[in-house]
Symmetry: C2
């Protein structure tokens, strides 16, 4: 079986390094090429096969590192994360048991504690990593409806969410068995942020045994931030659990100038943050916190019979068993770059969204649809011609121009920009506007 293991480390490392550099130097957004895939070969192709995988994958992928790529909440991770992930994969720590990941478990605890403190969460909060935002939200909502207790009373739970909530919140409701009649979308403002008095009325009218309110810190379409303090006060008054989906907005933990948007977070009951969005690490990586470690233990703890060595571990918590050492990858970026530079970058992209808003506000053909809270900005043609927008977007889709996504909000098509790349600047925004002018003429 020597053949199974034989591997030219240096050759593979050199090829991988060259490819990684090219991934970050890509100026194309997306490939014209459609490389051949083939079937799984019977005989191994060795380093040739691996090189071919690298080549096809790179030429066949969207170039997220391009400064013109502003279509989705998809970051080009910091290179420190990419190289660390190779080692994370090789070492393959399992965060299920402390004995399997003695060091990574400590890193996970430190990173969760440090970021929690920057979010303003007091020391009683406990957290764990999870695989992506949807699983983090589901985990928190599972705790909110009672976790492993009172499963038979699930039908008596009600969920109150704003219109701007991510689809994963509705998905979670269905997974948890909360009927549609118990899912209340609270009406609100133009960006779908809940109106506080509507929420109060809805909670007062509800006879549900367990009430769960969801607040959004950075919505998927507009990057809208809700009034967390207000939500927390109303939730407490009605004995409801407040879960804050800060998957995107959690990066404000590092901000120097916009931390006031986090106000009230410590009064929530659970929070989810996704470093894979605005903290420049690869997907999938999320952190979910529950206020009060004892409650976390009570609601979410499960015995794992296949290890009887009994050391404390975070494998008891959450919906997953084996977990990757995502915390180490995030730690690597934070060590390399430092907290200050991360905060600078977060603030800079918020500023850039403000600049873009000003550019669009004075444009003849285009107009912003809202004042940006964070680094997302939606806009459209002033004449609101949906066919023209769709056609123009396809022109951008030919990947010559900076690229935004085509989204839908309240049945209307809009163009949506997410400003994430550290190399995006006003020149790219001007070029995007120019491309849309050209496409519409």
């Amino acid at each position: 079986m020597e053949a199974f293991r034989h591997f030219p480390f240096e050759t593979a490392g050199e090829i991988a390094t060259a490819m990684i550099r090219r991934a970050y130097e890509a100026t194309q957004f997306s490939p014209a090429a459609q490389p051949d895939i083939g079937a799984i070969p019977d005989a191994g192709e060795g380093i040739e096969g691996l090189t071919e995988v690298f080549r096809c994958f790179l030429t066949g992928s969207a170039g997220l590192a391009s400064p013109g790529m502003m279509g989705h909440m998809d970051t080009a991770p910091h290179p420190a994360a990419a190289f660390t992930d190779a080692l994370v994969s090789a070492v393959n720590n399992n965060l299920l048991f402390r004995e399997l990941a003695p060091f990574a478990s400590r890193v996970e605890e430190m990173v969760i504690g440090d970021i929690g403190a920057r979010l303003g969460l007091s020391a009683e909060w406990a957290g764990t990593f999870a695989s992506g935002g949807s699983i983090a939200n589901l985990t928190a909502l599972f705790a909110a409806v009672g976790g492993f207790g009172d499963v038979d009373k699930r039908a008596q739970c009600a969920l109150f969410l704003p219109e701007c909530a991510h689809v994963s919140i509705r998905k979670s409701a269905a997974v948890l068995g909360i009927a549609a009649s118990q899912v209340h979308v609270v009406s609100g403002d133009a960006l779908g942020r809940a109106d506080l008095s509507s929420l109060r009325t809805a909670l007062r009218a509800s006879g549900a045994r367990r009430k769960v309110v969801v607040g959004i810190l950075g919505s998927t379409v507009h990057g809208a931030v809700e009034d967390i303090q207000g939500l927390a006060e109303i939730s407490r008054a009605h004995d409801a659990w407040l879960h804050v989906d800060a998957i995107h907005g959690g990066a404000l933990a590092f901000s120097h100038r916009h931390r006031e948007l986090l106000r009230g977070l410590d009064s929530a009951d659970s929070v989810a943050v996704g470093p894979q969005k605005w903290l420049y690490v690869p997907r999938v990586s999320s952190i979910v916190w529950v206020k009060d470690r004892d409650r976390f233990d009570r609601e979410l703890s499960v015995e794992l019979p296949y290890s009887a060595t009994g050391e404390a571990h975070r494998g008891r918590w959450g919906l997953q068993g084996s977990r990757r050492a995502d915390a180490v990858t995030l730690w690597a970026v934070l060590r390399y770059v430092g907290a200050r530079a991360v905060g600078d970058q977060v603030d800079r992209t918020i500023d850039l969204a403000g600049d873009f808003w000003r550019m669009l506000s004075s444009d003849r053909f285009l107009e912003p649809t809202h004042v940006p809270d964070l680094n997302l900005l939606c806009f459209r043609y002033r004449d609101n011609d949906e066919n023209a927008m769709r056609l123009a977007h396809q022109t951008l889709g030919a990947y010559g121009a900076p690229w935004v996504s085509l989204s839908r909000w309240r049945e209307q098509l809009i163009l949506r920009s997410v400003l994430l790349s550290p190399s995006t600047n006003e020149t790219h925004l001007a070029r995007l506007i120019e491309s849309l002018h050209r496409a519409s003429s």
Copy 2:
């Protein structure tokens, strides 16, 4: 912001390559060292910080690549997977939308189709990747209880599982809101495999509106394989959904000599396989299939408003939104090694468990607790002295000797071996037996 991006690719690549090589050459199981972690620094440490992360992480982690590491279902991934993961992280494809991962989406489809065919699944099955075994099982069980339909009738669902089922199945039941009174553990044999006539009786007695049967192909404690064909016949007769948890056993798709264990799989309704176990890729990586693509679409499909470009994509399915290109990593290993060598390795580890069973059967102090179905074997002291076993295990825990886990089965302590490493052979098994002799004398 140049500082945020400046990165010495070649230096980082060289360090990472050297560290990856060391990860695979480790002969120590676990560290004596407890490297310092420190807080998140305010000022970035640049390449020095990254090097320190690499060094601490490597010296502070269990060495899964050691041939004496046989304690858990934790593989040392093939190096091709580790290097590919660096590129997967850099490129950061999102399997949510085809437009974000044009090439990786095709790789995912090919790999799912190819492995599905090797499992004996007919062309009507559809699948998607998920983050780990627990999420894959939860996804399948969500489809089994009706997905996004009939959420209000969740209380009328019943789950029938064998004693040997993984804890994630019970977790999933609680997440889905299936009350404990509707979760039926079917009695069975010494390894917890369901007795078919007990299952038939239980299904006949149930008045549940939706019945879901779980079958296990490779249990977590013993690697036990259930009679899938028998389970499928009974499930069909009682209009129950059969989900097969083949998270570990799914690697039999590549086996040359043990494929008969997969018999009946095509008669199931859903299957979950975890390449992260026995197919030598890093966690977290799983595939979940549902029979009948239309049913998958109907039960698990959800609209995503933030892209209106409308291309077909697998982001509609499953519980996650953003997903990592795990399929590309698996594809890299399969291209490098080839399907035949993977099958050889699977068969070889099953043979080795048989060898170990013979060695233990003729030992004076130790005895196997079962005949192995796959590459897992549990054993204990013949006098069944739990204190002595616990003490002896702690001696192994000092990491001088080959290492197995201490597990619990039906309230009894047992030692548990999982034979995964390609470099483990009879010499290591003999050394393990000798260490346990020495520890007990």
